[in-house]
Amino acid sequence: MAFNLHKEKYRSKVSEVVLGATKEEGGTRSHTLTVGGESTLPFLQFEGDIPNRPIAALEIWDVAPEDWNPCFDPYYKDVYDNTGAWARKCVDEFGADLVLLRLKGADPDGKDRSPEECANTVKEVLEAVSVPLIVIGCGKGEKDNQVMPLVAEVASGEKLLMGVAEQENYKSITAACMVHKHNLIAQSPIDINICKQLNILINEMNLDLNKIVIDPTIAALGYGLEYGYSIMERARLGALGGDRMLAMPMIGNVGYEVWRVKEANASEEEFPGWGQQEERAILWETTTAVALLQAGMDILVLRHPKALEVVKKNIDELMESNKYE
């Protein structure tokens, strides 16, 4: 007797967001990257379409990070002070699909770099690499509201993915994205209701829904990964069920979260039973990332080149069709 595979039928699909713009499209990128478009749950190709593979970015800063673990030194130390070269290394040497530039230097409690300096760094990175670019602020709303509009302006037409918009602070960056045709990261604090509401608020300012990427806020393995995971699952099921206000691709700052937990940073001397620190940390970052892929993450932002390598291999495997004919 023939085997009948049970297939779930969904009403709708995730929207597609295009990152970057080529010369013909008004930018300077060598190619664009499209994320989203899923019409089924992660990697169930037998049931629906996963038209675009998830992509992996490496995170770079506009200032040398003082608190990054020394195990990064062999990879990045020579380029910490040269953001353009750092970006190039991530793409050319380590194979990142794209880079995320965190304008950490703008932090008023740190280097307090001016909006103009930040904008120049963005230009420098755009010249250094030809892949699409993600740019996020320093995380201090007031300062980011000065920095991001200028970033949007100097990169006008490049279709950056810019962030972040939050429920309490979304207007200024949303307007900047609208005017200069960028995409926007809408960040909510592990809260599906705020996630949806924020998308509505942004959409009410007339930014198209296919210009929004959801950052549901995730945590590292062992630190509440499952909370972010379940929010992502719920959002994705909502999207497939026809909720347009949750039907956006999702981004997760995996590297940022993983590299602040003890398990990634503690030395072997401190915890002999935990094994070698760098290897352990790479595994921690990788495990967090691949778990999130299963919840529907479309853009993973990582830090360690070795984690990137393993995650990309996992994506290759997951993208092999499992269509049952």
């Binding site: 209701n193 949806k196 509505i200 909502g238």
Partner: protein, 263 residues
Amino acid sequence: MIIIGERINGMFTDIGNAIKDRNPAAVQEWAKKQEVAGARYLDINTGPASKNQAEDMKWLVEVAQEASDLPLALDSTNYDAIEAGLALCKRPAMINSVPAEMPKMERVFEMAAKYNAAVIGLAMNEQGIPKDAESRVALAMELVAMADAYGLHMEDLYIDPLVLPCNVGQDHGPEVFETLRQIKLLADPAPRTVVGLSNISQGTKNRELINRVFAVMAMACGLDAAIADACDDELVEAVATARIVLNMDIYCDSYVDVFRKQG
């Protein structure tokens, strides 16, 4: 709950006059108004005064589609009129309605298959409206079997358990709720359910209150759609809220607006 906007019906004076004078203004105004208010289908009914139902139906379908992209629910007991309208529908329509009677079911399900339309099947036959849930469900089963024979998807079969005014048929209320629950067990996937909402409040003094209380109670029993007044804001708000309470939509502060926009 999908709201099938009831307002384009020749029984209303403005629509009746519009049909008579072939003046599309009132029809198109109500098409747009109902869409904005939260309707997901527009019911189209020529009304009892129509002398040439097929011609009037065709005209209504054409002018309604000029004003709104919503799919239409063609409402008539004259199947020639429905077929004339179906041939003009740009989006898969709904046939409103057919009782569990031969040969009416054959005619309607054949049309549904031909035009890729959904069907509202009434849980009644030549003997009228059943008194209890059991007899209603038996008729629903006949509709399910017939739909299946014609290859109609269960998602395209809307069974109406038939609602009577609560002031005259009070004992029917609980039977209708029980019927709604049991219809969901008839097939997998289950057929959908629909009611003519305003029937429940015919002849009463608190029509809108009764309509919306009935709507949310019926939703809790599995009601999927209702032919209703989409411009009754409090009804739409109650339905949107019931969807939240029943975990059918994900909550956000603007959930009522979202429901109006995307249903």
